[in-house]
């Protein structure tokens, strides 16, 4: 099992979710995040004074997946999140040693199907 984590633009979250649902993903965790990549932040100007905001608002999408579905999930996120501009985000996957469905107690792949 793996955990797919994607950091995407806030305005692309609907497209990402639709792409994942089309691929067959049944559940995900979405949270607000802040960060920056190569493009760094932005500058705000209030009454002539400049304020640098390094951390841009982003959305973090997390999906638990069986090994064979990971590549397809990553492709789905890319298809939904990509605009071709700086700031489109990052996707990474990590190994997950165990997953448990709280309601039934199922463990492993059956817990995330």
């Amino acid at each position: 099992m793996k955990l797919v984590t994607a950091i995407v633009r806030p305005e692309r979250i609907d497209e990402v979710r639709e792409a994942l649902e089309r691929f067959g993903v049944n559940g995900m965790t979405v949270s607000q995040a802040n960060g920056y990549g190569q493009q760094r932040g932005y500058i705000e100007v209030y009454r002539g004074a400049e304020y640098n905001s390094d951390l841009l608002p982003k959305i973090r999408v997390e999906v638990l997946a069986t090994d064979e579905l990971v590549d397809g999930i990553v492709d789905a996120v890319i298809s939904g999140a990509s605009t071709g501009q700086f700031g489109d985000g990052k996707i990474w996957t990590i190994e997950v040693s165990q997953a448990v469905r709280v309601r039934t107690g199922e463990r492993g792949a059956s817990a995330i199907s």
Partner: protein, 470 residues
Amino acid sequence: MNPVFFSVGLDVNPQTLDPGATAWMLAASALVLLMTPGLAFFYGGLVRMKSVLNIMMMSFGAIGVVAVVWALWGYGLAFGPDTLGGFIGDPFANFGLSGLASVIGGKAPGLPDMVFIGFQATFAIITVALISGAVAERVRFGPWLLFAGLWVTIVYAPIAHWVWGGGLFGSTGIIGSKISALDFAGGTVVHMNAGMAGLMLAVVLGKRLGFMKDPNIRPHNLPFVMLGAGLLWFGWFGFNAGSELAADGIAALAWTNTLLATSAALLGWLLVERLRDGHATSLGAASGAVAGLVAVTPACGFVDPIGAIVIGVIAGAVCALAIGLKFKIGLDDSLDVVAVHFVGGLWGTLSLGFFAVPSAKTEGGLFYGGGLTQFWPQILTALMVTAWTAIMTTLIGLAIHKTVGMRVKEHEELTGIDITEHAETAYELAMVGGSFNPGEPQNGKTPSSSGEPETSSNGKTDRMRSKAST
């Protein structure tokens, strides 16, 4: 015969009451009072999220204190019979407004004195509230209320007496009998006064922690700022047009000039921003509008519409440029009260020397055939008001600061003045856990009155107290 008058025992002669003017002035007074809650929104949006309730409370607190002080002795000091050679009015002649309930035409033809008293009370209220913007996010609420009461008594009331109350600058006053300065609706009494008081109080209290370093010290809610500016503009029609104390052509001129100067100032500020910063901002539009309102205040009944537009566009540009001075000299005038109200008020006061239209009260300004005759009285008035305000505000501020303490403690400022002074937060963005304990206040203590986490009677550490001390 109006039964309402007789039911409250007032001796009113309907022959002398001007119903039209009275109705207008009652409405104008309410409009001016609305400016202070409007200011609360204007200032509220300009501070950080953790300070919005406190700065709004400083405005609302000013309403409470000043209205009561005004009724007890403030009105007498400002508009009572001359004492000390016209320096102040007699606060005891009508203490508590006694004997004034049935007077009609005492201060303006056809108006019950109570209308005039209420109208002037709203001016005193907003003048005090304006000062709070210079010292936002670092003043203890109780000492602020004490300052409000002392300042309106010692600084505002005498100046109001000089300019409007028949004192030094009145037509029979020591100075006013020789020169004739103009101030239609309060450029000196309200705006220069509040701006200079804000400057001196900011000097007394010092900078906020993180001033010119912390990028989080910036406006947290620009829609609030726009809402507040809109309410101020709305109320300012009562402020300026109401200052005629009648429903007549001069009031209409003041109303129109208030529209025109404000609009021109909005454009002037945005032009400076576009050229200097590359963007015309919403904060610039709101700030420019306020700068125009300030500048046209002393002039609105004495200039023609073209004069109002020129006064406005210059006010917007000058105030926008003046904002940058606080960073150059390192003065933390939190919300730019000095740049907008003192500079705007000074410009408006001096502008009458150029743009005043000839009338019964003036030969006219430089551009209207009067030469510089109107210019010098304007300068002298501005200097006297500035000097009195600067000296007395400093003394009042130091007296409070050195005795009961006016500034919050460092950890309280870092935690946020809303939670430490008022035990409230404006926005609950991420609350987890906690408890609810109805009817058992913690002995009236504020969450961080001790500065350390405290343990409640049930042995558990209070969530808010822990939060406030970290």
